[in-house]
Amino acid sequence: MQAGLSTKNAPSPKVVLPHYAYGALAFIAAAIMMFFAGGDIASTFMTPKVLSIAHVMILGWITMIIFGALYQLIPVVMEVRLFSEKLAMASFITLGLGTPLMAYSFWVDFIGASHAMITGGGLVIISVLMFVVNVFGSASKTENKTIENRFIATSVVWLLLTVLLGLSIVLFPNILANGSFQIHIHLGIIGWFMMLVVGVASTLMPMFFIAHQLNKKCLERAYILINAGLVVLVATMFFDLGQYAKIGAGVVILMGFMMFFKYNLSAYKKRLRRNLDIGMKLSVLAFILFALTMLTGFLSAFGSLIGVEFLTRINLTYGISLIYGFLTALILGQMYKTLPFIVWLKLYQDKVGKFKTPLPADMHSEEVAQAHYFFFIAGFGLLMAGVWLQEALLIQASAAFMLLTALLYGYNTYKILIHKQQLKPLVMPKIKPRPRPVVKKD
C-alpha cells in the first residue's frame, strides 16, 4: 500500500472527540440561556446577556467544534501529521475553561475587566495561540499549497487578531472610540469563521457530493476579494472613513462570498448523489441561510443611511443568520459527516474484512436527526419573527425549539460517541474451485 493517505496521519481520537462533546453541551447551554435573554434580543439588541450567549455560541460551540474538526482535517487536506497532539489537548482545556468564565462575566452584566473576564479571556487567548502554533506548525510541513489550505492558514491569522483585540477592548476600554468593537466582530466573523469555512467547506462539500471538475478560479477570486475587502473594512472602521467606504468594502466582501457560494452551488448541481443524507441536507440549509447573511451583511454596511430601527433589525438578522443560522446548521450537518467516521475508524479499522461491521451512517438515530432538522428550521424562523416583530414571546418560543434541537443533536452526538462495537459474521460469495492448469512435462 502506498503513501499519500490521510488516515495514517490522523490524530488520536482522544484529541478530537472531546471537542465534539463540549460543543454539543455548549449548544444546549446557549439554547437555555436564550430563554432568559429573549426580552433583550427583542428590545435592546446588544446587552451583556446577548453578548454572553454570543460568546458561548462563538467560542464554546462553533470555535470548539472547528478546533476539533481541524485537528482531524489537517492531516486530510495538508497530508501531514498534526504538529502536536499535546498542544491540541491543552488548547481544548484552556478554551473549555475560558469560555464559561467569559460567559459568566458577561451574564452578570460585567463586561469590564473582572477577574472572570481577564482569566477567561486570557485562557481563550492562550488556547488560540496554541491552536495557531499547531496549525502553522502543520502547514509548514505540507507540500499541498492549495487554495483551500491558504484559506485555512489565513483564517488562523485573523483569529489571533480577533482575540487579541477582544481582550484589548476589555483591558483598555477607551479604544472602543475607534470602532474597535465593530472591528473585533468583523475580524472574527469574516476573517476567522468565514475564511475557515470557505477553505474547509470547499474541500469537503465537493467530496461529499461526489462532484468533480469544479472551477477553482472562483476560490482564488474569493480569497483575494474577502481578504482585501476585510482589510479595507477594518481600515474604514478604525479611521472612520465614512459610510460609503464601508459600503464599498462590504460590496467587495460580498462579491468574495458570492464566488464561494457559486463554487458550492456548482458542486451541488454536479453532484452524483442525488438524494441528500441528513448531514448534507443540513449543510445545504446552511447555504440557504448564508444567502440571508450575505444580503443583510451588505445592507448593514449602509449603516445609519437606512434608519436606526431598521438597521438594528438588519444587524440582528445578519448576526443571527450567520451564527445561529449558517454556521450552526453547517456544524450540525458536518458533524454527521465527520464524527461517525472518527469513531468508526477507532472501533472497526482492524475488523474490516474479518467481520460484518455497521456503517458510519448506522451509528446515529435517523429519526432524531430528521426531527432536529425541522425543529432547527422552526426555531430559526421564530427567532427571525421575534426580532422583526420585537416580540420576546416569539424569541422564547424559538429558544424552546432551539433547545429541542440542541438536546436531540446532543443525543445523537452522544450516541455516536458511546457506540459499542457490533460485529457479525461475514458472508462471502461462494467461489467455484477452478481446475488447475495442467503443466505438460517433457
Partner: protein
C-alpha cells in the same frame, strides 16, 4: 496485470470478492464505484495484485478500504501473497462508476 474488462475467470472471482468491500461513506461497493483498475492472479508465484485508486485524496477511510481489500482476498486465498497498490493516476472520475453503482447512489439514503 489485467485491466478490469480483460480479466480471466479467476481474476473475475477475485473481483467478486472485492465487490464485498463498500466505501463506508456512500455504502456502494468499490468495484461499482470504479475504484479498481487492475487485478492479477499468478498461480505459480502464489501472488495476487490489485491496482486501485480512491475517489479523493482526502478520503478519510482510504487506508481502511485498502486494508479491507487485502483482508478479504487473503481470507479467500490463503497462502497467497496479496498486494494492493494505491495509485492516483489515472485520476478517478465519476465516469468510471458503473450503471449499478449509479443506481445505488441515486437510491441514496
Amino acid at each position: 496485470m489485467a485491466k478490469i474488462d480483460q480479466l480471466n475467470e479467476t481474476e473475475q472471482d477475485i473481483l467478486e470478492i472485492i465487490k464485498t468491500v463498500p466505501d463506508p461513506e456512500v455504502n456502494v461497493n468499490i468495484v461499482d464505484l470504479g475504484l479498481i483498475y487492475e487485478v492479477a492472479h499468478n498461480e505459480e508465484d502464489k501472488q495476487i495484485n490489485v491496482i486501485m485508486t480512491l475517489s479523493a485524496r482526502g478520503c478519510p477511510v482510504g487506508d481502511t478500504i485498502l486494508q479491507h481489500v487485502q483482508t478479504v482476498i487473503s481470507n479467500m486465498y490463503p497462502g497467497y501473497y496479496v498486494d494492493v497498490d494505491l495509485v492516483w493516476e489515472p485520476q478517478w472520475t465519476p465516469a468510471l462508476i458503473t450503471d449499478d453503482g449509479r443506481a445505488q447512489l441515486d437510491g441514496g439514503f
